[in-house]
């Protein structure tokens, strides 16, 4: 098999060229160590109180609907027909957020609240006296929770849906009860606003999503059994993280990004320095065989590089990812599609391996930074609330989402830190995989057009 021979050759060359091994392994490992050194002591997580801004425009359940709701409810329990059911689900939700504490098992008296709630007055916002979005940007609040006008109604509708599925009863379309339709509006979804690059925001989002799931289950149970909206989520299980742990996924991505430059330098040196490309082109090796060999090689390199970059911080630096290591590893391997594609593109552009290496170094650092590998990057929203996330609350498509590795970083954080599975982060994975495959295909075609045809 010719592609395997080619992969083998690249592999031998890599192992014998110590300097490239250094770039591939020692550099990211050194980076990991530096960040560990800087941030290891900075704890984050278990008892941190987050500041949550709340804008509540929820108009509650419409009167006639509320009445109707009780009637339907009475199907299950006629005994409570005259009690006020709710001031609106948003109101209930906010109340419960205020009461949620971290459970400190050693000292129950010492419970620490998860959130400090900062409620914004909608009339003040209208007068421009307060601006919650500015507070998000200045990070005065960690996240902003926005309940739109129709929040209660939409929630009710969601509950109905669930009921319908379970019991066959459906509130507004029940053939035996003709009631007012639930108003549908674009403006009906709960929004969580925050700085995607801000670690505290990411954590808040995860906690909120867990609470929201529990909340929905509670209203559902309530309606199903005719009880009150009364639920207990007093503790949310959170692992203890250091800032180092939250940065580790970024370092892994930085490591994998070094592959592109290395691959480009390798391919260009065959073309420009050793000029062995002359021999390859005159031989019976077909462009696709060569490209396939290179891709196999790159995949294997990636496998080992990522393996080592995973294991080293776990063994030496106390990196303790809570989530599935195997799934995190898979996400990184998929990212090889992107780095390989980029490598082919760069190799098609540059004509000396030095400039290829240097220019890709120049390119990779901003890519790593922009994908949020090391620190929070400013949010430039292109399309609001479009990317499905593990928390179930869609996030904005920001400028940096164009870069596939942004999604590697996000998916890795969700999986390794917040214990989501690959299926939970499918939105991020699609945004990683689809552009990466496109880039790889483009890169392969570009490379073979530039180096397997025309003058050499």
């Amino acid at each position: 098999m010719l592609p395997l021979e080619i992969a083998k050759r690249f592999g031998k060359e890599l192992i014998r060229m110590r300097i490239s091994l250094v770039v591939l392994l020692a550099l990211p490992a050194f980076m990991a160590f530096m960040f560990w050194f800087a941030f290891n002591s900075a704890g984050l997580g278990s008892t941190e109180t987050y500041i949550l801004g709340v804008v509540n425009e929820d108009e509650g359940v419409a009167d006639e609907l509320a009445a109707y709701f009780q009637v339907v409810n009475s199907v299950y329990d006629t005994g409570i027909s005259n009690t006020t059911l709710t001031h609106g689900f948003a109101h209930d939700f906010i109340q419960s957020l205020k009461s949620i504490n971290y459970t400190n098992e050693q000292n129950t008296a010492d419970n620490i609240p998860i959130f400090t709630i900062e409620e914004y007055d909608t009339s003040e916002i209208a007068l421009n006296n307060s601006n919650p979005n500015e507070d998000v940007e200045s990070r005065d609040i960690d996240a902003l929770l926005y309940f739109p006008r129709n929040y209660s109604n939409t929630t009710l509708s969601a509950v109905n849906n669930a009921n319908f599925i379970q019991s066959g009863l459906y509130l507004d379309e029940n053939p035996f009860w003709v009631g007012p339709p639930i108003p549908k509006s674009d403006n009906s979804e709960l929004k969580i606003v925050g700085d995607e690059g801000y670690t505290r925001y990411l954590i808040v989002k995860v906690i909120l999503s867990k609470i929201l799931t529990a909340f929905m289950e509670n209203i559902h149970n309530f309606q199903y059994s005719g009880g009150n909206v009364d639920y207990e989520i007093n503790s949310v299980a959170l692992k203890e993280y250091s800032i180092f742990d939250t940065i580790m996924p970024g370092i892994l991505v930085f490591g994998i990004l070094t592959q592109s430059g290395m691959l480009a330098a390798f391919l260009v040196s065959e073309f420009a320095e050793t000029q062995t490309m002359t021999r390859v082109r005159l031989s019976l090796i077909k462009p696709w065989e060569y490209i396939m060999g290179v891709s196999i090689y790159q995949f294997i390199v990636s496998f080992f590089q990522m393996g080592i970059l995973f294991v080293l911080p776990i063994l030496l630096l106390g990196f303790r990812p809570a989530g599935s290591l195997i799934e995190g590893f898979l996400v990184l391997l998929v990212t090889t599609v992107f780095t390989t594609g980029l490598g082919f593109v760069l190799a098609g552009i540059f004509t000396s391996s030095d400039t290829a290496g240097q220019s890709s170094g120049f390119l990779m650092t901003p890519i790593a930074f922009m994908s949020g590998a090391f620190m929070e990057v400013p949010t430039i929203t292109l399309f609001p609330s479009v990317i499905p996330t593990a928390s179930g609350i869609p996030r904005d498509f920001i400028l940096w989402d164009i870069i596939p590795t942004t999604h590697t970083v996000n998916a890795l954080r969700s999986i390794l830190l917040y214990e989501f599975s690959v299926t939970d982060v499918w939105g991020e994975l699609m945004l990683l995989i689809i552009p990466s495959i496109l880039l790889l295909v483009f890169g392969m075609i570009f490379y073979s057009k530039r180096r397997f045809a025309g003058d050499i």
Partner: protein
């Protein structure tokens, strides 16, 4: 035995081959209309100074460069046609001017990679590789990394890299620079032997000895044009009969040299000396009867107020052919 009609007569036929690099001010006409035929089984030499267009011509012949104009037929087949390409690739071996090796691979690994690249069956490859390594005296370096070979060894490995797949047609671009005299002779003898294995060789060089010694026919190329094409013997004969005498004079001023040269042209009514010219601060003359005239000629030079520092008598070389064609020396 009668040859089959379909058997092509030529290894390579080239017609009106041109190559222009760059545009506008940077435009270089590297090859300007080269037409020639290389016969099967011959060693065909391309002799010309640096930048004459030898490498460019060779690269167009094997398809590494697209000609700006003209066409190439290899073993009777047109390389532009897709179905001929693998056939042609199998038949051609190139020995590039720039040493092209995988520096991080050993001598053996380099050769094996090429064997694989040409899908040579392992059993055949093993025999060929062993033979090539011993032919080039690289046995001791079999397991050495290519980057740790000496310059001359790299050059020898570069040579056999082009022969692993046993090509019918060997294109050899400057095989010997950087080789010590013994290695050079080894390589020369090796190349001279290739036609005996049924191979055709195209050789480029700017060493006239090399072209003279190895080639059955030589094309002298300058500024992208073939000036003459013939056997070395015929080419040398074309510049005139007799031996050459080179005088190195103490006085090296140009005007004075010219004066001496014209005095020599007048010598004995111009009968004894066929030709006089100046090259590299030396006065060179051709004479059919050097020995009997030599002392008188020396006197004649001294009469012009010049002191002969050194003197050499030699045969005509291809360098002289080149000078007579272009008025310039090959190496300058």
């Amino acid at each position: 035995m009668r040859k089959l009609a379909i058997e092509p007569q030529y290894a390579i036929e080239v017609k009106g081959l041109r190559k222009t690099f760059g545009k506008g001010e940077n435009k270089v006409e590297a090859v300007r209309g080269v037409s020639l035929q290389v016969r099967k089984g011959e060693i065909f030499g391309f002799l010309g100074p640096n930048g004459a267009g030898k490498t460019t011509s060779l690269r167009m012949m094997v398809g590494l460069l697209n000609p700006s104009a003209g066409n190439v037929i290899i073993l009777g087949k047109d390389p532009k046609e897709k179905q001929n390409q693998d056939f042609i690739k199998e038949k051609i071996g190139i020995i590039p001017q720039e040493v092209s090796l995988y520096l991080e691979l050993t001598v053996e690994e380099n050769l094996w990679f090429i064997a694989n690249a040409y899908r040579v069956p392992s059993a055949d490859a093993k025999v060929t590789i062993d033979k090539l390594i011993s032919d080039m005296g690289l046995e001791e370096k079999r397991k050495a990394l290519a980057k740790n070979l000496s310059g001359g060894m790299k050059r020898r490995l570069n040579l056999i890299m082009g022969l692993v797949h046993n090509p019918e047609l060997v294109l050899c671009d400057e095989p010997t620079p950087g080789l010590d005299p013994q290695s050079r002779v080894v390589v020369w003898e090796y190349i001279q032997d290739l036609p005996k294995q049924g191979k055709t060789v195209i050789l480029t060089t700017h060493f006239m000895e090399e072209a003279d010694r190895l080639s059955d026919r030589v094309a002298i190329i300058d500024n992208g044009e073939v000036l003459v094409l013939d056997s070395p013997k015929a080419l040398k004969k074309s510049v005139g009969e007799g031996d050459l005498v080179e005088f190195m004079l103490e006085n090296t001023e140009k005007d004075h040299l010219e004066q001496i040269a014209s005095a020599l042209r007048e010598f004995n009514g111009g009968k004894a000396i066929q030709e006089v010219y100046i090259s590299s601060n030396r006065v060179i003359m051709r004479s059919k009867d050097v020995i009997s005239n030599l002392s008188r000629i020396l006197n004649h030079i001294e009469d012009q107020g010049a002191e002969v520092e050194n003197m050499a008598i030699r045969n005509t070389t291809l360098e002289d052919v080149f000078i007579s064609l272009t008025g310039r020396a090959l190496r300058n």
